[in-house]
């Protein structure tokens, strides 16, 4: 009967997978014993299962890991690093775009104001000149203070040289973190 055969097949499969209880296994053995053909079929399956279980993993030839690693190193910058760079660039562009929006709106506002009210142009120019004057005054104050400090402190030259050296070291570190000349060249190829 097909249904019986299907059940028997399922039980044989479960027996091979070690899923049958002692009682279920005994029942299966008894059913298999009812037919020489079934018993022979089961024995073939069992032998095949045994053969597969006893066949070990095969190993690659010696130096396989070294060959793979040589290929990995030869590949250079991995895809994930490139993707990270791309993601960073994309985020930077998004941030720049977001910052650009209010600036563009301000420029547009000034242009529209000037076009609709010529008197506003004078006010805008006055504001710009006032801001430039304030910045110039601030810079002049800073220069005066620096000159006064230089007059009082004999170590200014050493401080200046120290700050310059630290700045160069920091710039060098940032350059290395960004991947140096090689990364720049690789990026330019993309």
């Amino acid at each position: 009967m097909p249904h019986d055969d299907q059940t028997l097949q399922q039980q044989m499969q479960r027996a091979l997978d070690g899923e049958l209880s002692g009682e279920e296994l005994a029942l299966l053995q008894s059913r298999l014993g009812e037919s020489v053909q079934r018993a022979a079929g089961w024995e073939r399956l069992r032998q095949t299962d045994e053969l597969l279980r006893r066949t070990p993993l095969v190993a690659p030839s010696r130096g396989f890991t070294d060959r793979v690693m040589a290929a990995v190193v030869a590949m250079g910058v991995p895809e994930f690093a490139r993707r990270h760079t791309s993601v960073g660039l994309a985020l930077g562009l998004v941030a720049a775009a977001l910052l650009a929006v209010p600036v563009l709106w301000a420029i547009l506002f000034v242009i529209v104001s000037v076009l609709t009210d010529p008197g506003a142009l004078g006010a805008v120019l006055e504001t710009i000149l006032a801001a430039a004057g304030a910045v110039a005054n601030l810079l002049a104050d800073l220069v005066d203070q620096a000159q006064a400090f230089a007059g009082e402190t004999a170590l200014l030259g050493a401080v200046f040289a120290g700050v310059t050296a630290v700045t160069i070291v920091w710039l060098g570190l940032i350059w290395r973190l960004l991947g140096g000349r090689g990364a720049q060249a690789r990026r330019s190829k993309l």
Binding site: P60, P78, F80
Partner: protein, 195 residues
């Protein structure tokens, strides 16, 4: 060989330490190569495929989900790559009408020469039996017997259902049993020695 330790090496690799990936290659070279060999039946091609699988794993490492076992992810990449190779190879065979290449001698860890010879004989026969199966059936058998994967794990890896895998495995076992039964009794007895 814990999952935590695998994740550590993965994180180090992602942080830019390419040599950390070497630890993962060394740890899983045997598993990856064995899967490639069982699927492709040719040692040289299996080494190429295993190397390619590791390279793919390396370049896609940031897509690896650390919640899942690294070995399963790696085997999944290897099996997909082997299936691709088999498809390409089938096209070449169809055009050239060449027979299967002969099986080369296999390496083994077993020290005794007699035992090694027997293991090789067993390997060759098993490889012939596997070659008689379709790639999908062969893959299910290999994952079940050499990697001790459950039906659910195999189903997940092959993107199918557990019942489909059960059915596939049962038919595969029947086909393999028929192949073994067709061998001369002396050959069968020899490979089953010690059981």
């Amino acid at each position: 060989m814990s999952q935590d330790s695998d994740s550590l090496w993965v994180q180090r690799t992602l942080a830019g330490d390419a040599q950390a990936f070497g630890e993962l290659v060394q740890r899983y070279e045997r598993d990856v190569f064995n899967l490639a060999y069982r699927m492709l039946s040719e040692r040289g091609e299996a080494e190429d495929a295993a190397q390619e699988a590791f390279m793919r794993a390396y370049t896609n490492l940031d897509r690896y989900d650390m919640e899942r076992p690294f070995k399963t992810w790696l085997l999944s990449i290897t099996s997909n790559h082997c299936i691709d190779r088999l498809r390409r190879r089938r096209l070449v065979w169809l055009s050239l009408e060449e027979p299967l290449p002969p099986h080369p001698a296999l390496t083994s860890d077993i020290p005794g020469p007699e035992e090694e010879a027997l293991t090789n004989e067993r390997n060759v026969l098993v490889q012939e039996m596997l070659a008689d199966l379709s790639p999908d059936y062969r893959l299910a058998v290999v994952l079940r017997y050499w990697y001790d994967m459950s039906y659910a794990e195999i189903a997940e890896m092959l993107d199918t259902t557990e019942s489909a895998i059960k059915s596939r495995l049962f038919r595969a076992r029947q086909t393999l049993a028929d192949y073994l039964d067709a061998q001369p009794a002396s050959a069968r007895e020899r490979v089953m020695e010690g059981s």
